[in-house]
Amino acid sequence: MKICVLVKEVPDAAVEKRIDPSTGRMDRSGERNLNPYDTHAIEAAMQVREGGEVEVDEIVAVTMGPSSAVRALHKAVSLGADRSVHLSDDALAGSDVVATGYALAKLLERESPDLVLLGQQSDDGECYTIGAVVADHLQMPSLTQVIKMDVTPGTLRCERQAEYGYDTVEIALPAVISVGDAINEPRYPSLKAIMGAKKKPLDAVGIGDVGLEAERVGEAGSKVACGDFKPPPQKAAGEIIEDEDTNETVAKIIAWLDERKLLA
């Protein structure tokens, strides 16, 4: 069985996020890192391999993004992927969700995976939908927000929370699954794995290599244009208390609640 894990490079959460007002695109400067939600997808792949129910031949980390995204791939490899694939091309800049999912699907077709895993959301895009787009192009069954996944040869038994409670769904492989962050506790990479990550095979490809239609990607190929950025309606800033002396803090909270008649 071959597992592909889709990973993305995102701005470090500790660093402020901003949109470049002139282009409407995300400002990609500043510290960047592997999307933290994707580490759960890599860990899920590792647990399938270690679980022994099925034979896992390969775990491949796959990304689409600018040249800096190799760092996310190195991190993914240090967490357990055997090799990685990087789709990078100027023609992809400004791709919307549908164009990104299409390009990733084309990239995945070359790999013919039995299982594609994704994170629950990207820290910057916050769409939680790339998986559904990829699955439709690959014509594979799919489920998102999966927090338990039991693998047997040919099938997956997945659990996830939806609108009305927890659902258990049986899915035939090949499939596209995005995992929720409660599925596992990702391991930390060993120093050896971090050092070795750069030596593992990394396949860098452009849009010509994956046979995708150039007119379906990039800003021109996207079906939605984002713009007119504006600040949200301002809410009066709340009061902040730094807890130094807890008795004093508590007295302040009590006074605040009292003022609003919440202790009646």
Partner: protein
């Protein structure tokens, strides 16, 4: 003919409130565009129930009876066919989870534009544009569709209209499902994990998250809630982990509440949680990380360790209330 097609989710004989909001919103927009709002229902929906979508402004309901419920991809097949046959320009979904999966799959199928977490839809030059907060709600972006557009609402973004007594015409459609859509099957749906606790009627909620550290951490919240005369709520993170019952979960795939006081302890304040309680009158947050998103929208924020603060706060509340 153009038009807006809304997916109406139903469960145990009732439509989802967010779907009714979606139908209401679509009807309002259709009127401005000079077209009609239609709905799609799948599975076991009676004529009577389907027709009630007319109360919220849908003029027609397409019903695909033999389609499995609770999974997204079969609905993509249905909606792609209905939109293809009837020329709808837009598809719209109320907030939740299935709508995200269906909307994205449909966008891929139709090569259409899609926007999720939409909070406002506007009509401009005979077209729809969709507003979506981005970057932890620090900015709002507007989507312009080049062609067909798919709009996936944020939870509770679309208000339910006052129902009229208009009935929608119900039309059965026959749809051949894609082979891959039949490769997922629902084994059990809507399992309620943990006790059934009523938190919706409470005026005061003390909510706990992953910052409680362990299941027993909830005892701190329970003690404070008892002193305040309220109930205890939770985030998805702790419900998924099995620390607290699903019935107490607030947010996108949980409950929506608007108590007088929402006191959140050890909760980062993710948007999917926020959407379930943002209309609370007073929001108090206790978090040890001064950068936690919840401080952006709390009325009172305490930067500190909940393990130190909660027990003392509980004692102080008891003293103040003389109990």
């Amino acid at each position: 003919m153009s038009g807006i097609l809304v997916f109406a989710l139903h469960y145990e004989g009732a439509f989802n409130k967010n779907s009714l909001g979606g139908v209401s919103e679509a009807a309002k927009l259709a009127e401005q565009l000079g077209c009609e709002a239609h709905a799609v229902v799948i599975g076991d929906v009676s004529d009577e129930l389907a027709a009630t979508l007319g109360n919220y402004g849908a003029t027609k309901v397409f019903r695909a009876k033999d389609v499995p419920e609770g999974l997204a991809q079969p609905v993509v097949d249905v909606m792609a066919k209905v939109m293809g046959d009837n020329g709808h320009d837009y598809a719209l979904f109320g907030g939740g989870l299935l709508g995200f999966e269906i909307g994205a799959g449909l966008a891929a199928r139709l090569n259409a534009g899609v926007t999720m977490e939409v909070t406002h839809v506007n009509v401009a030059d005979g077209k729809l544009t969709a507003e979506r907060p981005i970057h932890g709600d620090s900015s709002i972006s507007t989507s312009h569709y080049k062609d067909r557009g798919i709009i996936i609402g944020r939870l509770n973004a679309f208000e339910i209209a006052a129902p009229s007594d208009a009935a929608a015409v119900v039309e059965d459609v026959d749809v051949q499902l894609s082979e891959f859509s039949t490769r997922a099957t629902m084994v059990t749906r809507g399992e309620q994990r943990g006790e059934d606790i009523d938190i919706e009627s409470a005026d005061i909620l003390v909510a706990g998250g992953r910052g409680l550290g362990k299941p027993e951490g909830f005892e701190l919240c329970e003690a404070l809630a008892e002193a305040l005369g309220g109930a205890v709520a939770a985030t998805r993170a702790v419900v998924d982990a099995g620390w607290y019952p699903y019935s107490t979960q607030i947010g996108q795939t949980g409950k929506t509440v608007s108590p007088k006081l929402y006191l959140a302890a050890g909760i980062s304040g993710a948007i999917q949680h926020k959407v379930g309680f943002q209309s609370a009158e007073n929001i108090v947050a206790i978090n040890k990380d001064s950068n936690a998103p919840i401080f952006e929208y709390s009325d009172l924020g305490i930067v500190g360790d909940l393990n130190k603060i909660l027990p003392k706060l509980t004692e102080a509340v008891k003293v103040r209330k003389g109990s």
